[in-house]
């Protein structure tokens, strides 16, 4: 097991290394000029040249990448071209807002998705099951920005329960509820559909029949026999969501005015702020790989049959 963990960790480093190369090359494949976006369209060529020299943009590509990697190994993600602030600072400043949305998003996904999925499976083809199926389809196909605007219009403007977007830090969690609900309603549909189908598979299994036949209370059958085995796909989905949400959900951030890392990265792309793009991509890639890793480890705990070697 420990061998497995070490191997996985090494693979993570390899993955991040390739992510860094690909991002770097992609950013350079775009024929823009960061100096131009720093100085603005009015600046003269002399000014642009001075800025390029200052940022090292006149160096050959391999040298720029080598230098970047060298600094990265030493824990330095470089400085944003635009603001000249350390990339690490820029990301960590914005990360709490992203975490808040992710936490609320996942909370609502599970809060809605799991009960709905369970009811749909246990009462297959009932009116409720069909209603939930229809609702799931609706929420799956509603774009986040539309749902977000609607929620805000009705629950923050018409009825002023929630704030009209914005973010005031973790001390004001009310700001996280509508963005979380927007993410959660869309996401819950996935969870409920997934849980429904995985539970339906299990419901007809022999060991469930056996459990019922030996007179176990329904509650025990559901929670100890059915759910125990139905969790796996949910955990997989959850692991993916954690990585995805923490990488910053741009649409939600922009609609609700949440200053998260997604929005920051989008701005960085607009201005070709390469160090900040690199930093955010690596950070997001790290989160995805780590959460996948944690999910894999969680399987061994959920299902003792799973063994890694």
């Amino acid at each position: 097991m420990s061998k497995y963990i070490v191997r996985r960790l090494l693979w993570m480093v390899v993955v991040l290394f390739f992510v860094s190369i690909i991002t770097f090359l992609l950013a350079f494949a775009v024929p823009g000029d960061p100096a131009k976006s720093i100085a603005g369209t009015h600046a003269t060529p002399e000014v642009l040249q001075r800025i390029r020299t200052e940022l090292g943009l006149d160096q050959p590509l391999w040298k720029q990448y080598g230098l970047y990697l060298w600094h990265l190994i030493h824990g330095n993600m470089g400085y944003s071209y635009e603001t000249q602030l350390p990339v690490t600072t820029a990301i960590l400043e914005r990360f709490p807002a992203t975490v808040m949305i992710a936490v609320f998003g996942i909370f609502f996904e599970l809060l809605i998705g799991i009960p709905v999925g369970m009811i749909s499976a246990l009462r297959q083809y009932s009116v409720r099951d069909r209603a939930f199926t229809a609702l799931s389809l609706i929420f799956l196909s509603l774009p986040g920005f539309f749902l977000g605007m609607m929620l805000m219009y009705f629950l923050a403007y018409q009825v002023q329960i929630f704030p009209l977007g914005g973010y005031e830090g973790w001390t004001a969690p009310l700001y996280g509820i509508l963005p979380g609900l927007t993410l959660g309603l869309g996401g819950a549909a996935w969870y409920s559909r997934m849980l429904r189908s995985s539970m339906l598979d299990i419901l007809s299994a022999d060991y469930v029949k056996a459990a019922r036949a030996k007179g176990l209370p329904e509650r025990t059958v559901v929670w100890r026999h059915i759910m125990r085995n139905a969790w796996s796909p949910i955990v997989t989905l959850l692991g993916m969501d954690v990585g995805w949400f923490l990488g910053g959900v741009l649409v939600i951030e922009v609609v609700f005015g949440i200053p998260g890392i997604g929005w920051q990265a989008w701005n960085a792309i607009q201005t070709q702020d390469l160090p900040l793009i690199m930093g955010t991509v690596l950070f997001a890639a790290l989160l995805v790989t780590v959460s996948n890793f944690v999910v894999d480890l969680a399987y061994t705990w959920l299902d003792p049959r799973v063994k890694y070697s």
């Binding site: 603005g40 009960p115 009811i119 018409q158 009209l164 830090g169 509650r219 607009q270």
Partner: protein
């Protein structure tokens, strides 16, 4: 059964929340209190209160040496000041230079400009204090320090405005320890010598790049100066929470009697423009920093309650189609003129709602030398076809039409594409992100024939348009048409040292005539800023140079 009950409980709870929300929707109604009618620039200022302004996203930095965008400037004007500024008035009156920390605007009559027009003398106001914790009087030495700091800053984008100062280039190249042409005569007098007369030098000195800041503060905070500004202005930047807010509070040391009006100005950086509008209506927000979103403009102006809080102001800027005179078929002036006749600019302006107004020349309204009655080209597709035929393209031609992907460029590109199609020019549109685009069209080797661009005023002098856009084409410059006409170049060079303002303006009008006849550009429109403020805001106006002047607004209720 118990399972069902616990699941059901969750659902009941959720339904309850939803029902509660819906129920409230039914009986909820907006309860905004009716306040007095809106006051704009007129009216008596009221002291006290908090002004809340929304922006989507935050400024890159608040360092006057580096920042060159309107959001940063709007916020920086709270705290930084320079020798000169502009009259605090809307419209053309606001393009007049005015003293800020200088006692007067140097001129030949007050002895501020020498007879050879090369030496400028500035007298500095006495008793102006830097904000706490520096809290000492501003001297001529501080201005010199701030100027040299800017010229030495590697990321300073606008040093080229000031390389005419004697010794500036040598200082930038590291060959001199100071800028010899920038002299401190005594604690309250500065003398600046420029190499050759320059009619725009005072405008350059009114830009924020030359604003004063204290050396000891810059040394103390280091790179953080970008986020920890300290100057002489009416508001102290109390804090900047990245991504969330920037808050300015009244500067108790401020030199101008009776100012500022409000106690606090809060910039909320988390609002998307649509929700900002809703927040303004609920009274949480006083001013929309980004203006009204285009999609909400018509509805808002027609709204009986809110229509009167909409404030439209022409921006001194020009949106146009450039045509690269070195790229076929735009090498032929007839083709370029044909494009001018082919575009239905009136329809295009209509398409943009309130964001555009008619403009048929390079120099926008509000810019000196603009000629209100001038119309170089009118919409005339028949004439366009005729010109194309004369140029040897009776059946038109195929071309790629370039633009960046930020509103309104995609809209404009489609409209122009349609109009060109009608006269036989088959244009395929290519859009890209801004950073890529501006770089692409500035390089001759990109071989971009035709595309969209815009230009916003730096200072109210026609040289700021004619110079960078239609003279001296260089790689990486702003002359996207790569247009050069010896006659225009000669006039332009002569205008630089012409000191009689009337003669100078006539020269620029002549240059505009020449350029428009050659048609390296097809002018589309002049943009309009659609501002909006809340019911409790006084002193709101749009300044032609500084845009929104938050530090001069007040709250009608003083809250």
């Amino acid at each position: 059964m118990k399972v069902r009950r616990s699941v059901a409980m969750v659902l009941v709870l959720l339904t309850a929340v939803a029902a509660l929300a819906l129920g409230l929707t039914a009986c909820g109604s907006s309860s905004s209190s009716g306040s007095t009618a809106a006051a704009t620039a007129s009216g008596t200022p009221v002291k006290g209160g908090t002004l809340t302004v929304t922006f989507q996203g935050e400024p890159t930095e608040l360092d006057p040496a580096v920042a060159w965008e309107v959001t940063s400037w709007g916020i920086m004007r709270l705290c930084y000041q320079g020798l000169l500024t502009y009259a605090p008035k809307p419209g053309a009156a606001g393009a007049e230079l005015a003293p800020e920390l200088a006692t007067e605007v140097p001129s030949a009559t007050n002895g501020g400009i020498s007879a050879d027009a090369k030496t400028y003398t500035f007298h500095i106001r006495k008793g102006v204090m830097f904000q706490a914790p520096v809290s000492r009087e501003v001297t001529a030495q501080d201005f010199k320090y701030s100027f040299e700091r800017m010229m030495k800053e590697p990321l300073a984008p606008a040093t080229f405005f000031y390389t005419g100062v004697v010794g500036a280039q040598a200082f930038m190249d590291g060959k001199a320890k100071e800028i010899t042409g920038y002299k401190v005569v005594d604690d309250h007098t500065i003398q600046i010598t420029i190499a050759k007369p320059d009619g725009t030098f005072l405008y350059a000195m009114a830009m924020m790049f030359t604003d004063v800041l204290p050396k000891e503060w810059v040394d103390k905070v280091g790179k953080q100066i970008k986020r920890k500004p300290l100057g002489t202005g009416p508001f102290v930047i109390d804090h900047w929470t990245p991504g969330q807010e920037i808050v300015g509070t009244r500067n108790p040391n401020y030199w101008e009697a009776g100012k500022p009006y409000v106690d606090t100005i809060k910039f909320d950086l988390t609002a998307n423009p649509s929700t900002a509008l809703l927040r303004l209506k609920t009274g949480d927000v006083d001013v929309l920093g980004d203006g009204i979103p285009a999609a909400d403009y018509l509805r808002t102006t027609q709204d009986p309650t809110w229509g009167k809080y909409v404030y439209d102001a022409s921006e001194i800027a020009t949106f146009y189609v450039f045509m690269n005179v070195n790229e076929k078929p735009f090498t032929d002036a007839k083709v370029r003129q044909a494009v001018n006749y082919a575009i239905d600019t009136a329809r295009l302006q209509k398409l943009l709602g309130g964001q555009a107004k008619a403009l048929n020349q390079i120099l926008p309204e509000g810019m000196p030398a603009h000629q209100a009655d001038k119309q170089y080209y009118t919409y005339d597709p028949t004439k366009a076809k005729q010109l194309l035929a004369d140029a040897g393209f009776p059946n038109g031609f195929k071309v790629t039409f370039y633009g960046h992907n930020v509103d309104p460029f995609p809209k404009l590109a489609q409209a122009v594409q349609n109009d060109l199609k009608a006269v036989g020019i088959d244009a395929s549109i290519k859009l890209m992100d801004k950073a890529t685009y501006w770089n692409l069209i500035s390089l001759p080797q990109s071989h971009v024939g035709i595309g969209l661009t815009d230009w916003y005023m730096d200072f109210p002098d026609p040289s700021d348009f004619i110079g960078p856009l239609f003279t001296h084409p260089i790689e990486g410059g702003s002359n996207a048409s790569f247009y050069s006409n010896p006659e225009v170049e000669k006039l332009y060079a002569a205008s630089q040292s012409e000191l009689d303002p009337a003669k100078r303006l006539a020269m620029f009008q002549q240059m505009q005539d020449l350029i428009m006849a050659d048609a390296p550009a097809a002018i589309l429109y002049q943009p309009v800023f659609n501002g909006m403020y809340g019911k409790d805001v006084g002193g709101f106006y749009y300044h032609p140079v500084w845009a929104l002047q938050f530090q001069e607004m007040w709250k009608l209720d003083g809250k």
